[in-house]
Symmetry: C2
Subunit: 211 residues, 2 copies
DNA sequence: CGAATCACTAAGCGCTTGCTTAGTTTCGAT
DNA sequence: ATCGAAACTAAGCAAGCGCTTAGTGATTCG
């Protein structure tokens, strides 16, 4: 009841326009940032609500002013991350107009995002499984849209004769595996820049479809 | 002190040869199986020692007869899994004699192992990060050996002119990403057989090196 | 047989967990 | 100035955690 209302759409619950709304927004942002950091480097279950609160300079109870539960916080993070990922993929696709260039744009953007925002990406990809079934279902819908974008580019490329792909499903999966796994191994201390990773992975994608 | 001695080498701690040794070995096996199942589907931190004990039909305290701690159990699992993975990669490599066929053998075997033993593989790949620094270092050494096997095949293939690979490091990583990620998405309910996945991924590997 | 050693359990200790409650402060609206 | 609502905290509760202790019954050895 509280849960979906919390850190979501409602720009102003009442008719306030002053600083209090801004302060609340700041707190929500600080909590989410704190939770991203904590979940990404210790995992959802190894992170305590006290830990999140401390990172956000708040008392343990302060978390519950803005989020219904620790689970709710994970859900908000996970959903926001998935929506962001979908936007990135769509805008990459729309930046190009032939299947090969669209594929390069998508894989390159997606891979470099998984490096640059590896903390968020880890939550999106690996903490996802700790959501409740209902929350998981909602996020899964976004995930399927991402999958569809990639698959449709492959289908278009095969239809146009640009790609040679014997199994669309396997290749779609493989392309995503390639980019998703970046979030697992990337971290501070990795020398290669996110952009360089994107470029290299764009090339690998073309090889996978034998363009 | 207890930790490294527990589920490890010593075939018989004293000079026993009777059933008691066999019973202990069975219990260790049951506990490890239980822990693999639990860790793989709930994660290390979300799994309680009581949960592991219950799955192995034991009392909570029974775990500590065979393992020094929950952390120790994860370490044994993680190490065993890594050693097994290394053996698979090495024996795949040795089953073939040219770089292309070696690459196909390695990727194919590794991918189908990640599907067939996805529970163990998940622990190896994703729970690995929850080890203590010392344990992590020990396991990391095995991981580097796996990496070296793949890299050396790529180097041999480039040297022989069979492969066209601009960046050995990136391609080594990409090949592993491809196979490792199988453990993330594979599960009961996935129709494709592990063997079919192996075959498909062997082909993808050849594409990545433009053989 | 008797002693030692083993796997194993019932009970529980000290601590941390997610979350609540009751109350204080802050602040915009009247 | 006063009220109402919201953000926030100090304190703490019930439950669950990893792990220990004290003890039991079976097995092996001299």
């Amino acid at each position: 009841m509280l849960s979906t209302m919390t850190a979501s759409s409602t720009p102003a619950a009442g008719r306030h326009t002053g600083d209090s709304v801004q302060r609340s927004r700041d707190s929500v942002q600080r909590l989410m940032d704190a939770a991203v950091d904590a979940f990404a480097d210790k995992g959802f279950h190894a992170t305590s609500t006290r830990d999140i609160a401390a990172r956000a300079n708040m008392s343990p109870a302060g978390v519950y002013v803005h989020f219904a539960s620790k689970q709710d916080l994970l859900f908000q993070l996970c959903k926001r991350g998935h929506v962001l990922a979908l936007e990135i993929v769509i805008s990459a696709r729309d930046s190009a107009h032939t299947p090969p260039s669209q594929l390069v744009a998508i894989v390159s953007a997606f891979a470099s995002w998984h490096a640059e925002q590896f903390r968020t990406a880890r939550i999106v990809q690996y903490e996802f499984s700790h959501l409740t079934p209902e929350h998981r279902a909602e996020v899964l819908a976004v995930r399927k849209q991402i999958d569809a974008v990639v698959r449709n580019v492959l289908l278009a490329g095969v239809a146009s004769g640009d790609f040679d792909v014997p199994d669309i499903a396997v290749t779609t999966l493989a392309l995503q595996s390639l980019t998703i796994d970046v979030a697992r191994w990337y971290g501070p201390g990795v020398r290669r820049t996110p952009q360089a990773i994107g470029t290299a992975y764009g090339d690998l994608a073309l090889r996978l479809v034998r363009a």
